[in-house]
């Protein structure tokens, strides 16, 4: 049953990394516009579209 200590540690690391990923996404404006991106995938034109690098005002 000692394996449980390893698993506990792993679960903490895993959960922590998800939280980190979410924080990163929130800080990079991934949630600021939930409307436009779903239309963007419907755009058939091949050209590459400039992508927002997501920096906040004044930073």
């Amino acid at each position: 049953m000692e394996i449980i200590y390893v698993m506990l540690a792993l679960s903490v690391i895993l959960a922590g990394s998800f939280i980190y990923a979410f924080f990163w996404a929130a800080d990079h404006n991934q949630f600021s516009d939930l409307y436009s991106p779903k239309w963007r995938i419907l755009n058939d034109e091949e050209d590459e579209i400039l992508i927002d690098d997501g920096e906040e005002n004044g930073r």
């Binding site: 049953m1 449980i4 506990l8 679960s11 903490v12 959960a15 998800f18 939280i19 979410f22 924080f23 929130a26 800080d27 949630f31 600021s32 516009d33 409307y35 436009s36 239309w39 963007r40 419907l42 755009n43 034109e45 050209d47 590459e48 579209i49 400039l50 927002d52 690098d53 997501g54 920096e55 906040e56 005002n57 004044g58």
Partner: protein, 707 residues
Amino acid sequence: MENQLRTYQLENISCPKCAFKLEKEAQNFSGIQSFDLNIATGQLKLKAENEKICHDLTEHFERLGHPSREIQLTDKDNQERKEHKRELKKLAVAGFSAGNIMLFSSAVYTGAEGSFAQLFNWGSFLFLLPSLLYSGQTFFNGFWASLKRREASIDTPIVVALGLGTLLSLYNLLAGSEGIYFDSIANLIFLLLIGRFFLKKFQAKALLESKVQIIPDHYSYKVKTEAGWIQKKASELGPEDEIQVLQDQIIPGDGRMGTASVYVNQSLLTGESTPYLVGPGSPIYAGTQLLSPQLTYKVSSLKDQTRIGQILNDSIQLKLDRSNFVSFIDRLGQNFTIGVLLLSLAGFSYFMLIGDQLAAFDRTLALLVVACPCALAFGFPLVLSLGLQRARNLELLVRSADIFEKISEVKNIFFDKTGTLTQGQLKVIEQSNPLEEAQKQILLHLESHSQHPVAQALIRHLKTDSQDIRFFSRQEFPVHEELGKGVFGEYAGIQYSVRRADSNAIEDNNNVVDFYANEDLICRFSLEDELRDQSKKSVEYLKKIKLESYILSGDHEKSVAFTGENLGIDKYYSELSPEEKLQIIKRHSGKEMMIGDGINDSVALAASHVSVAMAGPIEKLLQTADIVLLNNQIKHIPQVFALSHHIIKTLTWLSLFSISYNVVCAVLALMGYITPLVAALLMPMSSILVIMFSFYRMKEGQWKLSM
């Protein structure tokens, strides 16, 4: 200032296609570092190597039909954005904690014992810390703020429950005894945060949608396109569009006249309802009403950009003001909260005294969590902001939510007559004897030379029952008008005239005109200001809901009596000066509503309990009146009563539900029927129920009258 992120509001971003097109166009510009266009709002965030590129790009977009203006994001906007992000993060952390703790505690609940149980409980505690210390800040901040105001807010019992629950659970964990509720606490934080997050979103949306529109989106106009004239909705119009406006329509955007000239009603801007002549090349403003048969012009600006739009934006700040009822419920909620705290203290002491430590802890915690009157705290602001939004849909400008309570108290309604109940336009109501066809032609010819309202009314009257009109030439029938007297002409040797009736002949000669041939009276017409279509229906409905209607007018007794009779209002006051109107309002002081125009009645409006203004320069109306009725839609007066009564009823039900629910749950918790975990689930659920109930009750079908 270089490399700064700029925000622009682009116009006419109505479909994803336009947005893609602009994105593609932007690629032809070098030096753009980021380009982020929100399709929903038309907001563009642009970052480029230097200012000139931004300038060139927006100019290019303007040529493509998407003019823009730069928005200076205020500190408040930035703060709100940051706040939104912080809330999302808090929610994520709380969810992460709650989920993991549930895993650990389910192991304990299903029978883990000894050192494993100990391990899992410590694990729970560990995972609770980020939730409590990071996500829980929302509650701690609210608690701290209310402490400073020396009040009890809804955060008070929550913070007490969080603190008490964590400390005692930790104590029990160290002592190895029962009663560890890390899971309840984590769930409580998570569910409460979810509830608040969505409530905030709903409210922001409701307030945003209750912004004022002078031209409702569904109004439609003819627009010139390559394929000819097509009908478009007001919301789809763009600057530079050539638009055709028909008689009585509201002009949708600012622009400039071409070569023609038209008459418009500018009362919204100036308060003056006499027709105003807009000559060739003169500016024509949105919100004015076209009186000429039709107008074709090029729009230069729309919506917020128009003169009227700017006036409105500057002067309207929607507020969720607290009315008497709301502040009463507020106080009730506070007292209730304090009561809950005292009751928990009493319960805790009692169970400690009888030596049942576990019960003391369990039951107090459950009581604190379950009895918090969150339903009140959530439901009230939501119902009020939805109410403001609904009022907007009725073409009413309401500035603060406390008006609903005031309206529901109204007992007497005072109407101004001219322009309020009536259209402010004369109509022939009585003709002494029928005219021969030839006489009609002569009368029409005479009156067609005058712009006087009486002449216009006579022409409208005669045209309705005469099929073919013979036109006389100027030579065979010369006519001249003498201002203030009448119209005079000569035909086939006979002198014809239409003039105001002799004051000796009748007592009230204001709206009576005579048609003479060589000083022989042919016919006498009585004219009256025509009632608005909806006046009668509205008054009837108001009577039905037991409201007393009065007419206050500066007009002659006879014409006021006539209007009153037509509408079924037997209480009227005539020949009043503005000061006398004020006296009458004061005499009935208490719960009255005054509906009038913003200029002549402004004194009386200011004195009344609820004031509704409907004609006048809108800037002034917003200063004097509680409610501004747009587009003279008097039929919305009964609707606003229905809405207000409905809102007050909904609020009453909400508070009854909330309080009875909390009392019942408090008793059950003290008796030990509700465990802290169940309490942590019940409390947010009741809040969600309240939110759903509020939305359901505020649906249009729930309160709107079918008139």
